[in-house]
């Protein structure tokens, strides 16, 4: 069954392209949000653990969001953990302190108490990868459709591979893994 799934992906480049586009869009989206954080939030120092520094964040009352998604920052509190030696974001853990309304509530809302937690770590010298994404949000969109985003992703056991690996080579790599178990 696993081998059949590999074969199907190998034969369907359009599905791969679609998932790649989704990933590229997600990355661009997360980059846009990351760029907003220094203006959208106010930070103060928390704990220190070796080279890691914790910052508590609260909404910046002077921030004026220009997009619907950026309005979420006006109701978000939490903590960042930063690696000050490598200047990298290790962790962000936030929650909504109040309900967030879109279009005065007509277009939807996110309930208070929604949480998200994202972690990344150095998986090889100088390379940082996402290791945890945990989102737990609830709300409503367009009058009646209930939004329920309960998602948890954990990524582990990273091995760097060639940057120009073909789809066929990647499929063989997965088959070898399959055979070795």
């Amino acid at each position: 069954m696993a081998d059949e799934q590999i074969r199907r992906q190998e034969r369907d480049p359009s599905a791969l392209r679609k998932s790649l586009k989704q990933q590229t869009d997600d990355a661009a989206h997360s980059q846009r949000l990351l760029k907003l954080l220094p203006d959208a939030l106010l930070f103060r120092f928390g704990e220190r653990r070796g080279g890691a520094v914790q910052l508590h964040f609260t909404p910046n009352p002077h921030f004026r969001p220009t997009t619907r998604e950026a309005r979420v920052f006006q109701a978000m509190e939490g903590d960042l953990w930063l690696d000050t030696k490598q200047s990298r974001l290790m962790e962000i853990d936030g929650h909504l302190t109040r309900e967030v309304k879109f279009g005065g509530g007509v277009l939807g809302h996110l309930n208070a108490g929604g949480r998200f937690h994202v972690k990344q770590m150095e998986v090889a010298h100088g390379f940082w990868e996402l290791t945890l994404l945990n989102v737990n949000m609830r709300g409503k969109a367009l009058f009646f459709k209930t939004i329920g985003v309960q998602q948890k992703l954990q990524r582990s056991d990273f091995h760097q591979i060639s940057d120009d690996l073909s789809v066929a080579q990647a499929a063989n790599l997965l088959r070898k893994q399959l055979a070795s178990r």
Binding site: S19, G148, L153
Partner: protein, 83 residues
């Protein structure tokens, strides 16, 4: 003169820590905001410049369903197989 000197010394003793604390707190907040800005800007840059590819294990839970995969990234998209 002596009284004045003592008075100034006592004033300084009490006033200095207060003023230095309030300054420190202001600096601390400013530094925390500057540190966040600097590292988040670097994060954006580092992610944009990272074109590395990886093989890894993925464990996903969504809407009560739990799935585990072995994933191989390529420049044409990711391949995965259930584990």
């Amino acid at each position: 003169m002596v009284t004045n000197t003592i008075a100034i010394a006592i004033s300084l003793l009490f006033l200095f820590p207060v003023s230095s604390l309030s300054q420190d707190s202001g600096h601390s907040d400013k530094n925390a905001n500057e540190l966040a800005r600097s590292i988040l800007q670097n994060e954006v840059k580092a992610e944009a410049n990272d074109h590395s590819h990886w093989m890894f294990r993925l464990h996903a839970e969504k809407s009560g369903r739990s799935e585990a995969y072995e994933v191989v990234e390529t420049k044409n998209g990711d391949l995965k197989r259930p584990t």
